[in-house]
Symmetry: C2
Subunit: 393 residues, 2 copies
């Protein structure tokens, strides 16, 4: 069968080489990768099957990793992974959500058969998809193994993007601009919130005239009115926009699961003075901070620069102001590596992609204006070309 891979075999092997380097430095002989974005990164696998247990086993001594998943998903793995078919293992359906056995029993057997049951085994301990029962089952079934923490090990490798990845992210950025424009054009007093959200969802997938989007890792966050005082509420399905609404738009385009997030804020009517002031403060501070970002700067220094830039405005932002983003499935497009906040000593380097996201949530409304950026050799580059201001209609 002819496979259509999104990256060359060399690129996958290069990623794997970097993962193995980190594994070796941390004394991990075998890494169990459960996060679906990390599975995709290492093998190309792309299916909505992560609601059952599945994963990739990286063995320092083997060239190819091993994909395991539900038998009915093995065909999907054979179609989307760069791996030869003998590196794809399906498990029987009786393991699925069983009260009598556990998929990790199957995985322990698999490790046993490959002579890996007494190895130093790295696990994504603090990831979404590696739960407590999975851990305890492995611990019980592999008494001779040493269980180590491999949380975010692949994520750190993912944090610096390749040229091909950046190409897909630029394609996602074009979709992202269309999505945001769709939202701002559609929302108006008297329009159903559901209908605006529906147009946003359509734009995310329809993409451009020559290529389509993929489903972003976070559904459209687009609260209005009082709901903008909260960080993660979305549209109200049975409400019409009305004059006097603030509408916060935290939207994304995605291409081949590479997300491109963007936030803007819209006001319907004549915005109150304090909202205008907050907007001016945030937009000004954002501009100054962007000029500061570049290779060699630490993540915490970016946050500090931001804090200085807005010190005179009275705006206070007690949470982190940004994070690394890229290839991801639900529930988050953030990579859980770099955070722009006090204490994060990460030194920025070319190829990192950050969402600078200074969202402000006050008691009765919020304001968001963000930029997704690429760290370059000399500074940083915007992915998206979209006016930074409080939009007024």
């Amino acid at each position: 069968m002819q496979k259509k891979l999104l990256f060359s075999r060399e690129e996958y092997l290069n990623r794997l080489g970097k993962v193995k380097e980190r594994m070796d430095h941390e004394g991990i002989e075998v890494l169990l990768v459960i996060d679906p974005a990390n599975m995709n990164y290492l093998t190309g696998y792309d299916g909505w099957s992560f609601y059952v247990h599945q994963g990739v086993i990286v063995d320092l001594r083997e060239e190819n990793p091993l994909w395991f998943g539900r038998e009915q998903d093995a065909n999907g793995a054979r179609q989307t992974c760069w791996l030869p078919d003998d590196c794809i293992v399906g498990y029987p359906d009786y393991y699925v959500q069983s009260r009598y056995t556990h998929t990790m029993c199957f995985v322990a057997d698999l490790l046993e058969k490959r002579g890996l049951s007494a190895k130093r085994l790295g696990l994504e301990m603090d990831g979404y998809w590696f739960n407590a029962r999975m851990y305890l089952t492995l611990q019980q079934e592999l008494p001779e193994a040493t269980l180590l923490d491999g949380t975010n090990l692949v994520n750190w490798v993912k944090t610096v993007k390749s040229t091909t990845e950046i190409g897909y992210m630029r394609e996602a950025a074009v979709i992202c601009e269309k999505v945001m424009r769709t939202a701002i054009e559609t929302i108006a007093p008297g329009v159903w919130e559901k209908d605006a959200a529906a147009e946003v969802c359509r734009a995310q997938i329809a993409g451009t005239e020559t290529y389509g989007g993929s489903s972003p890792a976070i559904f459209p966050i687009m609260p209005s009115g009082l709901r903008t005082a909260a960080a993660h509420l979305t549209f109200e399905p049975d409400r019409l926009y009305r004059s006097g609404d603030v509408v916060m738009l935290e939207l994304a385009g995605a291409r081949h699961r590479y997300n491109m997030p963007l936030s803007r804020t819209l006001y319907l009517g004549d915005p109150p003075e304090d909202l205008r002031k907050t907007a001016d403060g945030v937009v000004g501070g954002l501009q100054q901070t962007l000029e500061f970002i570049g290779p060699g700067v630490t993540a915490e220094a970016v946050e500090e620069r931001w804090r200085q830039a807005i010190a005179h405005t009275g705006v206070v932002k007690p949470s982190r102001v940004g994070y690394s983003f890229g290839l991801n499935y639900v529930p988050d497009w953030g990579e859980h590596t770099v955070s722009l906040r006090p204490g994060d000593k990460t030194i920025l380097e070319p190829g990192m992609t950050l969402h600078f996201m200074p969202g402000i949530w006050l008691d009765t409304y919020g304001f968001e204006c963000s930029e997704p950026i690429l760290v370059t050799e000399s500074g940083c580059e915007l992915f998206v070309d979209f006016e930074r201001r409080l939009f007024v209609k």
Copy 2:
């Protein structure tokens, strides 16, 4: 502030009473609910914030449960929960994805302050959102607590729906019909797969003329051609449908996070004889099985009836043929309780909602035709009115 709740306070208290009954029977004094659908079920909380740790603490001795989450999400909880404000606790942002502390340290402190640190504590051990690090942190911070398995405890309560819930599910069913019709009408040779998927996504949110949908827990699964041989692949963003394509449609409508899934299969052109035969076998078996489903029947008996019904057709379906579904966020609309498969002794009762889903994946194509149903006092009732056959265009 005027709150718009989707259910009466009485209904929430009734749910909580049933959860406490189960807790008591299992000897669990305090239950830590992390699954966002279970949080929603018990409190009404509805935000896309489950990418950070959050939860609900149910204490047998207290009338009200306690919501905890990120400080910036506490406003969202105050807006969407039926709880009084003093039952909503926000934690500082430095706990988020920190390498130096963990949100479960905050939770342990919270339990300590409430005198719960030496209790018998139930945990959703095998859920998506309770990971290994969360477990180990609680174990370390609460040395006097007894950690017990509370996996799916709330899910089992959720499995039997109330009249109000069934009402929302009927609304979701109307959306679901529109979504499936949109897909079948849009897909044709020469149409971009992305454009058909975009229309599906729009229909999911636009809902009806009088109410909107919410984002289903699974993105549209709509593979074509050879990709239908795999269970969970979706559309290809850069491909046009062509004559000779099988297109599998596993789509949903959702209303207030109550999902209504449905599968149908479409063939573009003149279907090959073996596909027609498979379709006839599945549709016939489905009809016979539906007539058999009702209160008092076990889950495994339903599967057995199905197997008998298709025995003469040569169709083999080695995985489970259905499951309980309802209120859910990503990544799954299934409730992880009732499975229609050998060994599941659950006795069906009125108010249970099951997705009877006999998907067949052969080596070069697949066929799906499903029905979401409600178990009634006398049998079962279809949620959706949609012709059961192989659609041909």
